[in-house]
């Protein structure tokens, strides 16, 4: 496969994690401009684990996800009592705080005669796990998509579970959910933790894919994009944010149709969709219609196979 295509597909896979992270919070009715903070925490934590502590990649990624989840849940305790604009501003402020803290964060270790580790504003270079362990770009791409598929499977089960119903119920009307006996605050903290873990795993993959990170990567633009992917693709299914990522990186950027005007087109697309389809292309109604249509198509076949089975 062409290196460029592998690069684009890897980017689509990695950025999908932060898009899904924002989607979890959107499900519970919260708009976060701060998921890039957990992406950063995951990137730094897993980079430190593999580059400085010599952990295996899987453990490093899990560590990045766990640290980001803990940070998100801790942030969730005081902030998820806020709503709407106040919550959005609080998450944005936290993300900027994290970015600035990483500009001050120095933790370097001498490895093979070279200082390796986070070095303030200069960032964290030489996260060389894939090179030191001879993992090819195609193998890493497969790893990204295996993890993404596992995440989507998790979402599919979540949507069918009581937890998924509670998340959507809270997102629709948290007062009504509270009156129905749902411990809204507790579930919102749980959602924040899951969202943090997803962003953290994405950050870990990003750090190992690019081999370097620096604080300015994790500025507000990344947060805005992660949120916009869900709003473009739709909130009816976890595939929605992935559609958003595909439209932005897979079509607008990679095809070069819009060259330097991509951001203008992207911004315009978000604005138009928010007016025309406020819950994205694949909103709940669209997903319901697609499911019904799919059942209609597949049911005659199913009925036919059942009849054939019954026939002697």
């Amino acid at each position: 496969m062409d290196d460029y295509l592998i690069g684009v597909l890897s980017n689509i896979g990695v950025i999908s994690f932060i898009a899904l992270s924002a989607y979890v919070l959107l499900l519970t009715g919260e708009i976060s401009f701060g998921q890039q903070a957990f992406f950063a925490i995951g990137a730094y934590a897993s980079g430190i684990a593999t580059a400085l502590w010599h952990w295996p990649l899987g453990a490093g990624l899990a560590w990045g996800g766990a640290v980001a989840a803990a940070a998100a849940a801790l942030l969730g305790v005081p902030t998820l009592r806020l709503h709407g604009l106040y919550f959005a501003v609080a998450t944005l402020a936290f993300a900027e705080m994290v970015r600035l803290l990483f500009e001050l964060f120095h933790y370097q270790v001498l490895i093979n005669g070279e200082l390796v580790g986070p070095n303030g504003a200069e960032g964290f270079r030489n996260i060389r796990y894939i090179f030191d362990n001879n993992i090819g770009s195609t193998e890493f791409l497969v790893l990204v998509y295996v993890l993404l598929s596992a995440t989507l499977l998790g979402f599919s089960l979540l949507e069918r579970s009581r937890l998924g119903v509670i998340f959507r119920m809270t997102g629709e009307d948290d007062v009504l959910a509270e009156l129905s006996g749902v411990a809204v605050a507790r579930y919102k903290v749980l959602a924040a933790g899951i969202a943090g873990a997803l962003a953290g795993i994405g950050g870990g993959l990003y750090a190992h894919l690019t081999t370097y990170v620096e604080p300015r990567i994790f500025d507000v633009m990344l947060g805005v994009h992660s949120l916009a992917y869900g709003l473009i693709g739709g909130l009816g299914t976890a595939l929605g944010p992935l559609v958003g990522v595909l439209i932005d990186i897979g079509v607008l950027e990679s095809t070069r149709w819009f060259a330097g005007y991509r951001m203008v087109v992207f911004g315009g697309l978000v604005a138009v969709l928010l007016i025309v389809r406020p819950r994205g292309l694949f909103d709940e109604a669209a997903v319901r219609n697609i499911s019904r249509a799919w059942r209609r198509i597949s049911s005659p076949k199913r009925r036919l196979s059942q009849t054939q089975r019954k026939a002697p």
């Binding site: 899987g58 453990a59 990624l61 070279e114 200069e122 030191d132 998790g154 633009m221």
Partner: protein, 145 residues
């Protein structure tokens, strides 16, 4: 319950991914990069000198590609990697890259072949010059009396 067991499976899969630890240090390459604007807008010619980081010997015969990413919008600007060609000077390569806009870019130098490595360099690409992105500000113009 099903959700918990699925999450457990995902966690187990994560923990066992890449069970080899990163103790084995691969070859390390050091790169000196200097770029200057080419004739076309947003095109830059880069001269890259590769040396072995441990022995300081020049690295010849490498398959080198040069990619670029914008730190302010990671993963969103997929600049098509340019293949570098070896020049007559040993260990020195030339690549022409096409960027999307001026500003700070991180160049990714990917080596394949007998040495597999990646070196990253932060550079600020402006209309008329290219400077190290980690040293803020344009160099002062030559002093005239």
């Amino acid at each position: 319950m099903r959700l918990a067991s699925s999450l457990g499976c995902i966690a187990a899969a994560l923990m066992t991914t890449g069970v080899v630890s990163s103790d084995a240090a691969g070859p390390r390459v050091k790169a000196d990069v200097s770029c200057r604007p080419a004739a076309e807008k947003l095109q830059y010619d880069c001269a890259i000198k590769l040396t072995d980081a441990r022995t300081s010997e020049t690295v010849t015969g490498a398959e080198l590609t040069v990619g670029a990413d914008m730190p302010s919008m990671p993963m969103a600007h997929n600049v098509r990697p340019a293949k570098a060609t070896a020049t007559t000077e040993p260990g020195t390569y030339h690549a022409r890259i096409q960027l999307e806009m001026h500003g700070d870019w991180v160049l990714r130098l990917d080596l394949a072949g007998h040495i597999r490595d990646r070196v990253v360099k932060s550079l600020r690409f402006e209309d008329d010059l290219v400077i190290d992105a980690r040293k803020p500000g344009r160099p002062s113009p030559p002093h005239k009396h």
